[in-house]
């Protein structure tokens, strides 16, 4: 990995953004009862993310967004989940439905024995201004109007190719560049220091100085699971839903406990990606929105000169 370090004084914009970020962090710290942070020491820019990582990261973000939204459109064609090979229609373990009459209905979400009123969000919501029975709401699906299973499938299966191509390009890069061993493979010390790191993260204290040049243990473990477990899992469960792929690879439905189980796992993994995305964005904001965004766009990340924690 090339490490071009550059010593620069921050421009005015950088200073202003940093001041805003510090104010936000201090507000959040105040909200949970911590003392405000001391003013930050000077920084220098460190080349943190290479071009392949940055390009594939943003491509992946767009592809995943389209996959998610078209996937929710497909899900709306039969908004229920089952376990096994066949569907047990009278007892799905998750379903988004509507209750009431043709004129007056509300959306409900059923999970096992529990039932929730999710009107306006899940089960029933506005479709082009008209209250409609639909699993996920129009702002979450591609295309927006539902049902449109045919178009949802076209988008999903086209971008699935891009997702796999992007993923393979990324794998090729990380395994040939040393990025995998240096930045992604969790180490023994990562695991040993996990409790301490969780506490530090919870207190919104993020690595500084030299330590900030590399992913920390929590990042390594999270990225490892997301990229090397959830990624292949969502592709393979996707394959399992295709009848021709099941003919080609009969072990697929067996491994996942049936086609409907695979569909359920596909759904759970999709929402694990959503959960990861939310945490990812929160961490980006808490550890320095502009610094992180810049580092994923230009590659350069501002490192604070080292200073013992007060």
């Amino acid at each position: 990995m090339s490490e071009t370090t550059q010593s620069v004084t921050q421009g005015n914009l950088g200073d202003r953004l940093r001041a805003q970020r510090d104010a936000l962090v201090n507000r959040l710290r105040a909200a949970v009862g911590f003392a405000p942070r001391e003013p930050r020491p000077p920084t220098y820019l460190f080349y943190r993310h290479t071009i392949p990582v940055r390009a594939l990261h943003w491509l992946n973000a767009i592809i995943l967004l389209i996959m998610l939204m078209s996937g929710l459109q497909i899900f709306n064609a039969h908004p229920a989940l089952y376990w096994g090979n066949g569907s047990s229609f009278d007892r799905p373990f998750v379903s988004l439905t509507a209750e009431g009459t043709q004129e007056d209905f509300h959306g409900v979400t059923e999970i096992g024995p529990w039932k929730f009123n999710t009107d306006g969000w899940l089960g029933a919501s506005d479709d082009s201004g008209v209250k409609s029975v639909r699993g996920f709401p129009e702002w979450a699906t591609l295309p927006a109007a539902s049902p449109n299973l045919a178009l949802g499938r076209l988008w999903h299966f086209a971008f699935a190719w891009l997702l796999v191509a992007n993923g393979l390009a990324y794998f090729a890069y990380v395994f040939t560049s040393g990025h995998f061993k240096q930045e992604l493979l969790p180490t023994k010390s990562d695991i040993a220091h996990l409790p301490r790191e969780i506490v530090m993260h919870a207190r919104l204290r993020f690595p500084k100085g030299e330590a900030a040049k590399h992913y920390n243990g929590i990042q390594r473990m999270t990225y490892f699971v997301v990229i090397f477990v959830l990624g292949p899992l969502i592709v393979l469960t996707g394959f399992t839903m295709s009848p021709t792929m099941d003919a080609a690879f009969p072990f697929l439905p067996r491994v996942f406990g049936g086609r409907q189980s695979a569909r359920t796992i596909h759904f759970i993994v999709a929402f694990s990606f959503v959960a990861f995305f939310i945490v990812h964005i929160v961490m980006v904001i808490l550890s320095g929105t502009w610094n992180n965004l810049r580092s994923m766009i230009t590659g350069r990340y501002a490192i604070e000169t080292e200073k013992p924690h007060g």
């Binding site: 967004l65 591609l142 086209a158 003919a247 080609a248």
Partner: protein, 267 residues
């Protein structure tokens, strides 16, 4: 240094704007209305078909299950009863006069009665029915392998697709602007010869050991076990071998295909 930092900032802001607009564009369903977008997405369907065929080859079998896996009640979908005068006469008559005609690009036209169809060697398979909507159901189907019937009809060299015409109208008859009665389209589907001659592709006349019920396509429906449900038409009356389906109905090779669904139903 100040210059470099300003350039960085400009590049940063430009790229940010580009990234944001791309994401906004992605969320924009209007793109789905553009013909060139649909063309690209449609091309990808061909890529998917070729890739799946590469792995599944001509004759890889769909998984088969045991009696214990059979769903207590097999879900019926699509047309549950054609309910036309013609069809009702056949129901009253226990389909004694039902015939399956095989025509088009064949050397020998056929017209098979149900008795003739049942007299041919049969195949029984417990398979999983996968609906395009996402649900699945396991059932035991018995029927005549389509490849036997095609062998009898002897397709001509130029035949590429097998088209199935069905007895179920999709919708009601209506009046057009000049007051003429317009008949609704009837269900139809098509497979290419590879899928049509697959060993598990059968003209099924039994479900779970019973005569095929009306809601499941009596007297004969197609089973193509590596495909989704909409590729397996019910109430099959006529089979035609063609070189292209451009001139049939909407020209896309099937009723749902004419409504925008993919012709390739293996995924």
């Amino acid at each position: 240094m100040a210059d470099a930092s300003a350039t960085n900032r400009r590049t940063f802001l430009t790229r940010m704007a580009a990234a944001t607009s791309t994401i906004a564009l992605a969320g924009c369903s209007d793109l789905s209305q553009k013909p060139w977008v649909l063309d690209i997405l449609g091309e990808v369907e061909n890529l998917t078909r070729r890739a799946q065929r590469l792995f599944a080859g001509g004759h890889a079998l769909a998984p088969e299950y045991t009696k214990a896996d059979i769903a207590p009640s097999f879900r019926a979908n699509g047309t549950l009863n054609p309910n036309t005068n013609d069809y009702n006469v056949h129901v009253a008559n226990a389909f004694k006069d039902w015939r399956i005609d095989v025509a088009g690009l064949v050397d020998k036209r056929l017209s098979l009665s149900l008795a003739q169809l049942r007299a041919l060697p049969s195949r029984t398979q417990i398979t999983r029915h996968d609906c395009v909507e996402g649900w699945s159901c396991i059932g035991e189907w018995t029927g005549t392998p389509l490849q036997l019937i095609l062998a009898m009809a002897q397709p001509k060299a130029e035949a590429r697709y097998v088209v199935f015409y069905c007895a179920d109208p999709m919708g009601e008859a209506s009046l057009d602007a000049s007051g003429n009665l317009v008949q609704p389209p009837y269900y139809y589907e098509s497979l290419d010869l590879l899928e049509a001659t697959h060993p598990q592709t059968i003209l099924a006349y039994r479900l779970n050991g019973q005569t095929l019920p009306v809601e499941h396509g009596a007297p004969v429906r197609l089973r193509a076990e590596r495909q989704l449900g909409y590729k397996m038409p019910k109430y099959v009356q006529r089979i035609e071998l063609v070189e292209s389906f451009n001139r049939i109905a909407g020209g896309k090779g099937g009723y749902w295909e004419d409504q925008g669904y993919q012709w390739y139903g293996g995924i």
